[in-house]
Symmetry: C3
Subunit: 343 residues, 3 copies
């Protein structure tokens, strides 16, 4: 009997099935520091315990994306080890900020299945939930991946397609317990722009660029215990390059977006995300944002719905798609999310 | 008077001499995070405080190899700065897990000496002990190195050869205080295989590979305050390469061994280790294991004696030695150790 | 209205103006670990909580340069984003050691202005102060930079030139509260040399060298939230190289100086610093020191005024300047500082 994990194939999934993912992972102050060494993040809440306490968050939360990457990474060995493609995610909501000492565990429920017409693979839909050591939900999301069949002769399951919202409705966003921006210190946070200063349709070029290295993306991806071969092993791809984990580009672009969105302090939801081109060491990543929508959340807290685009090389024209409707050359990431910002 | 440390030469050692090594080093949650960024480790005990507490370990221990590398690194400036070769180690036992806040100090006693027939060097045997800030032993081990003489005219000391066991006897393994695998959660740990599922002679190919980088091995080696020139300075070797610290390969192989040995949670002893070939940035490291022996330790805890082999490039045939009895090409590490696993 | 920060130009500064810099930053045990992975530091006080407590420092301070880099990095977006050149710093004093949990904020007062005769730029002098969350001063310093004018037609301000000391007087050095070297453990610290063993004029070759990598200097520089483009973006310089942050060379040289100055435990002041040549990945950095002065601080604590020189390639002759009075080829850093050492 082989002891190593072969992963699940399409016919191993059934609608309603619940998978408890290994391995629980405790978040520490060390994660905050390593994250800060890998991404140029300067958002005042994860940077400063004193600032966080001044807006009602005590103990000191870590960067929201730390929780995202850890929670997401847990699902890989069970859901996407035999994936042909990661097709999408939706309805991701951040419930409560994660603080050092929290232990995160993730489970997934299969919510949809559809075999492809070629009979060789199929699409698996899961809803995943990360909880802390007290069983409180930290974040949850839906995701769909195309997975190989082990045996092409296996019969196709009944088609079940879940209904997924293209955008998390503003009224479904969760205000972290205690969050109050009434006495928010804009000088300490680095920019004067509040919720009212942003207009729907506004575009922001975040100016700065970062050239990627293999050591750094490997360190980041390992930190989340994401062990997909292609990120670490030059023998895993014909071109001998290590493919950079898409989440590395998300974190890099989010950090770069500080320059222009310094007060968009907390992630509240991710509506959709497309990793539109591969990234490799040596690429220089830039970012721009577009304001897609706005909503008031509480007396002091507003939400901005933002499109965050990462590009290889700077594109001051901030072009998302060409005339053919396809993503413009150089676009690496198209992320649609809600952020919380002082009103 | 020169202020820098010239290290000890063969004639500086006398049997019975005790050396207190600099510098004491406090282990922190930061070490856990940096370790997790450098090695693809997923063992549930060091990963999760909640999981560790569920098996009786609270506060939350760090990876055993963190203690090993720190304790070992302390001995370098006094024992092996003028070494011709690191010849071997034996009888390494982990006593109690190390937790954040523990300060480790190492001392060594010279237990054997034998001048080489060429009169230019000799073999020094030491027994080293690492203790925490309360004086409790964390780990101890024997080691022998070949060291240059400063003055080839110096008289040879009386030959003293210590008796060292080739394997730590199962009854000498130390059960960490409180460790109880009775309510072990195999789903959370990532694999269903318990002690009874492993057979002596069984071979496990750990499948995954990691391509090494200079930045990563330098960061790891510095973390242990091991400052041997060859690891950090391209001018220290004729080929201009930075030789990778052997301990980096140990930690990499151990982390890779999760895939097939996820429940071999804790190191208990290292019986022997051979670093059979040098490793450099660009090499892709794989690992395989062989079950050498088994022993019951308590009602819930078993021990597996394992051979952990790291290779440059994957060798699915898992060949340790060629017909000539020499290590097969590509073998980097042959490590013989005891691990603790749920019965 | 653009949302991104264009930085201040020469005509934006007025004498007496106070700038509160973003973003406050909490120091953690994670910073200690990442720092230890990037620099070969072995000084016993930041290495060991037990050692630090034995000399009166409890809780456990982090490396002084961690505070320096964080405090300094905060000033970049407001003071030197449009700098032509960093001209110098002076009168830097470390007040009290920083411990994990401290949140650092920096503010600067403009203390001098002088437009250049070309009318295109001018020199701005600021005095910067970093305080912790209780408002206690952690360190302060003066600095002057040459900054572009936005509009060359803008009138020149009145010339104000501050008086700055070339050396912090020994009687102005601050003894950290509680520091007492009476029961200092030289064996644990790694070298036997005390204050009395060093002579003014003594030169120390620190022997070891470290080859720089892009990943490592980027990680260090990010950790301090210093986001100057030239350190991270190959498209920011015509030669396509990432310029290494000068502070990276300071930390590297300081760590290398352990070998010969292991007991120069704490930085007390920086009198002056010149970054005399750029450094890039692939360069191998060595260091040497010269004892410039000595002073007694308390019954158990002495101070050494040291020149710390970093070189590209080892220079056993320890030549600072050529016959022409210019810095010798290979000199990267000339740092003049006071360190505290047991009497």
């Amino acid at each position: 009997m082989t002891k190593t994990n072969p992963g699940n194939f399409f016919e191993d999934f059934t609608v309603g099935q619940v998978i408890q993912h290994a391995t629980p992972r405790t978040v520490t102050e060390g994660d905050r520091a390593v994250y800060g060494s890998l991404y140029p993040t300067r958002f005042a809440i994860p940077s400063s315990a004193a600032f966080a306490a001044s807006v009602g968050l005590d103990p000191h939360p870590v960067e929201d994306l730390i929780a995202f990457h850890i929670a997401f990474g847990k699902t890989v060995p069970d859901v996407s080890l035999n994936a042909v493609a990661n097709l999408g995610y939706a309805e991701l909501r951040f419930h409560q900020p994660v603080v050092p000492g929290d232990t995160l565990s993730t489970s997934s429920e299969v919510i949809g299945l559809k075999e492809n017409s070629n009979g060789k693979s199929g699409v698996v839909y899961v809803r995943s939930t990360a909880v802390n050591q007290r069983g409180e939900v930290t974040l949850d999301w839906a995701r769909w991946v195309m997975v190989h069949k082990r045996n092409v002769e296996a019969p196709a399951p009944e088609v079940v397609l879940p209904e997924l919202a293209s955008v998390v409705a503003a009224e479904d966003l969760i205000l972290p317990t205690g969050l109050d921006f009434t006495s928010y210190d804009f000088a300490a946070a680095g920019e004067p722009h509040r919720w009212a200063d942003y207009e729907v349709g506004e575009m922001i070029d975040h100016v700065d660029g970062v050239t990627l290295t293999d050591s750094e993306h490997q360190q980041a991806t390992r930190l989340w215990q994401n062990t997909a071969k292609v990120h670490f092993n030059v023998e895993a791809r014909p071109d001998g390059n290590r493919l950079i984990y898409g989440g590395h580009i998300i974190s890099m672009a989010r950090a770069l977006s500080f320059n222009g969105l310094a007060n968009a302090q907390l992630l509240s939801a991710i509506n959709a995300g497309a990793h539109t081109a591969p990234a490799f060491a040596g690429d220089t990543v830039y970012a721009w944002s577009e304001v897609l929508d706005k909503a008031a959340i509480s007396d002091s807290v507003g939400a901005l719905r933002l499109r965050l685009v990462a590009t290889k090389g700077r594109d001051e024209s901030m072009t998302l798609r060409g005339d053919d409707g396809k993503y413009a050359p150089g676009v690496l990431l198209d992320l649609d999310y809600w952020a919380l910002i002082p009103q």
